[in-house]
């Protein structure tokens, strides 16, 4: 990615809170991000990290009755936070295209494929019905559907999973949007199909120069496709940088733990690394201090910041909390563990960091 590329999306201090029993809890907590033209920005995290919530906040799909979005999402001088429905409908589909995880449930079972793609064109272009039909066939061809006229007349259940996801991509790119949000676009697909879909996304991006926000839990997918990466934990970004910075020099304990728990080892006698404890739920989430601290209890409290902020470890590489400087895995520095926090790693940190 060339950083001189045009800035598409500038997210500043975004909070997205959900109502649970008349209280609002931040699922996205003070997130700032930028997305440029031609950039693939991967948002990584496990379930409950807030990555999908962030995506739906950008495209404004939350039910305003039980969601509160604050902060700024700047797109071309336009703040998407608090935008009226009528204005937002001009942006959705036209400026931002969205691809969902499960293409079967994301397509209307009762509508023909062609009509579902054309629907986007109806609301954003002045094309006649004839022209729309032609454009639908063109799009189907562009996403690698072998027989566009046939597929346009088919229903979603008549297609394979990979073909359906291609159709979803055709819908998302129908108006050549500058921004594409892909929420776990390959999670429901087989690996060979996943490879094809990721290739397609990259090809499409080269053609129309969109910035892609790729949301995924699959570190392999990130390493293969992303230009920049933001790792999320408990609603916050804990590490951010180029894909090389994050994968070749991971700094935050969470990133390092995740990479370590991947089954990549060649020996089957080896135990996989397990992150202690569980991801806290939205309601039970600790709102102060380092949110990841309870899961690395062998790290002394003094290593964490009281109010962890993002630090620039190297140009463009951001890490939350200073604890990364002294972080080690229990089996890496046994002497340090014995001296520092002996036995601490077996019990739960009850007093909180």
């Amino acid at each position: 990615m060339d950083t001189s590329d045009e800035l598409l999306l500038d997210i500043q201090h975004l909070h997205t809170a959900f109502r649970v029993h008349d209280h609002f809890y931040d699922a996205v907590d003070d997130v700032s991000l930028t997305l440029h033209k031609n950039e693939i920005l991967a948002l990584v995290g496990e379930s409950g990290s807030g990555k999908s919530t962030l995506a739906t906040s950008i495209i404004g799909l939350h039910n305003p009755r039980n969601t509160k979005v604050t902060g700024d999402i700047m797109y071309n001088e336009l703040n998407l936070v608090g935008l009226s429905e009528a204005l937002f409908n001009r942006i959705r589909g036209n400026d931002i295209g969205m691809i969902f995880q499960d293409p079967l449930s994301a397509l209307n079972p009762l509508m023909r494929i062609g009509d579902q793609i054309a629907e986007t064109l109806v609301y954003h272009t002045k094309l006649s019905e004839k022209e729309r039909e032609a454009r639908v066939l063109e799009l189907l061809d562009q996403v690698g559907i072998p027989d566009p006229p046939l597929t346009a007349h088919q229903y979603p259940h008549e297609l394979s999973g990979g073909m359906r996801q291609r159709v979803m991509i055709a819908i998302a790119i129908a108006c050549k949007p500058p921004i594409i949000i892909a929420d776990e676009p390959t999670t429901a697909l087989d690996v060979t199909i996943q490879a094809q879909i990721l290739d397609l996304l990259e090809d499409i991006q080269k053609e129309i120069g969109s910035g892609i926000l790729l949301i995924t839990h699959d570190l392999g997918v990130v390493a293969e496709t992303a230009d920049t990466v933001a790792v999320m934990y408990s609603g916050q970004i804990v590490e951010q940088g180029t894909v090389y910075q994050v994968f070749e020099n991971p700094l935050h304990p969470y990133t390092r733990s995740l990479l370590r728990s991947m089954p990549q080892a060649d020996s089957d006698d080896e135990e996989l690394h397990v992150i202690q404890g569980t991801v806290p739920s939205l309601v039970n989430m600790e709102r102060s201090g380092d949110r990841f601290a309870p899961r690395i209890p062998w790290i002394p409290e003094s290593a964490h910041e009281a109010n962890p902020v993002l630090h620039e470890a190297e140009p463009g590489h951001l890490v939350r909390c200073t604890c990364y400087k002294t972080f080690y895995f229990p089996d890496e520095k046994p002497e340090a563990a014995a001296a520092g926090a002996a036995g601490n790693n077996v019990q739960n940190p009850s007093e909180g960091a």
């Binding site: 379930s47 839990h217 392999g220 090389y244 995740l258 990479l259 089954p263 080892a265 996989l272 569980t278």
Partner: protein, 320 residues
């Protein structure tokens, strides 16, 4: 001797059509496969959706009617339901499912869920039973007060551990694990896999590990088979398959796994595209005229590949 031998297993589903709804064709979900699982090992069965891997697993536990072939366990063919019942086969062979939410009865408490298989085969007093359940929960690292709770009160990883506890309740010899960690987050997946290994050592259990995830299978299994279109395309040790894949389908599958190595990604992509190109261009060579996978040929002590006939001839001339 192997713990269980699968011999020429076939599971075919009839397709009915026409006015009289007669059987006009079959879906060859499992189409003549052979493999053995040794005592205490984890055997991997890899395939994409629709490959027949889950059907194979279900046929082994007896959840799917076998069309033909044998499943030899303790010198007996257990494809017949009465034989299974007579020899308490269902006590010895258990199953772990992918979706822990739908495979655990939402209206039953954990105690009853875990105790159910025991109740079918053993007569324990209430206190004995409760002690066993608590012991099992302890093995999978769950607090003993879980017995009073219901499945929805647990996270996905915890539920999958409960599924593991239920599966080991009858001290089985073999557990069929059908995509046991596919629905789980990375860190939780590691936890469940570790527990599966731990239990294997403690109770000397064998696993048939069914998965589409080549990374996980590589970690868990020393021997594995790749399944495609109802047949096995390649069988061998981990080294055979991952370091020396022979069948185009295996190569394609391996090339498609994204690697956690951004600096090598351009090379990986080029390799993947080359394999994909070869697959597209020479696909028909690797399958017979009906699109079926060829029979397996032995190419080393441990390595079997579904090679096309001309390839075999070529290899024979090379050797001879």
């Amino acid at each position: 001797m192997s713990l269980i031998e699968i011999k020429d297993l076939n599971v075919h589903y009839p397709i009915r059509s026409g006015f009289f709804n007669r059987i006009t064709d079959y879906v060859y979900a499992v189409d003549g496969i052979n493999f053995n699982i040794e005592e205490g090992e984890t055997y991997g069965l890899i395939g994409e959706s629709g490959s027949g891997k889950s059907t194979t697993g279900k046929a082994i536990v007896g959840l799917e009617k076998v069309t033909s072939g044998q499943i030899i366990y303790n010198n007996q063919d257990i494809t017949d339901r009465r034989t299974r019942k007579k020899m308490h086969y269902n006590k010895d062979v258990q199953m772990i499912f992918q979706d822990s939410m739908s495979s655990l009865n939402p209206r039953k408490r954990i105690e009853d869920i875990i105790a159910e298989p025991m109740r079918n085969f053993e007569s324990l007093t209430d206190t004995e039973e409760r002690d066993r359940v608590k012991e099992l929960l302890d093995i999978v690292g769950m607090p003993s007060d879980s017995i009073y709770k219901y499945p929805h009160e647990f996270s996905g990883g915890q539920r999958q551990r409960i599924g593991v506890a239920r599966a080991v309740a009858t001290h089985p010899k073999l557990i069929i694990a059908d995509e046991p960690v596919s629905a789980l987050d990375l860190s939780v997946q590691a936890q469940v896999l570790n527990f599966m290994k731990k239990i294997q050592k403690e109770f000397d259990i064998s696993y048939l590990f069914i998965s589409h995830d080549l990374g996980v299978v590589k970690h868990m299994c020393r021997n594995l088979a790749i399944m495609h279109r109802g047949r096995l395309v390649e069988v061998g040790t981990r080294e055979d398959i991952y370091n020396n894949p022979q069948h185009i389908y295996t190569k394609r599958l391996l090339a498609a796994i994204p690697k956690v190595n951004p600096s090598g990604r351009e090379a990986d992509k080029a390799h993947r595209r080359a394999v994909e190109k070869e697959y597209q261009e020479h696909q028909e060579k690797w399958y017979d005229k009906d699109g079926k996978v060829f029979p397996l040929q032995q190419i080393s002590d441990t390595h079997y590949v579904a090679l096309p006939p001309d390839e075999i001839a070529q290899m024979k001339t090379e050797v001879g």
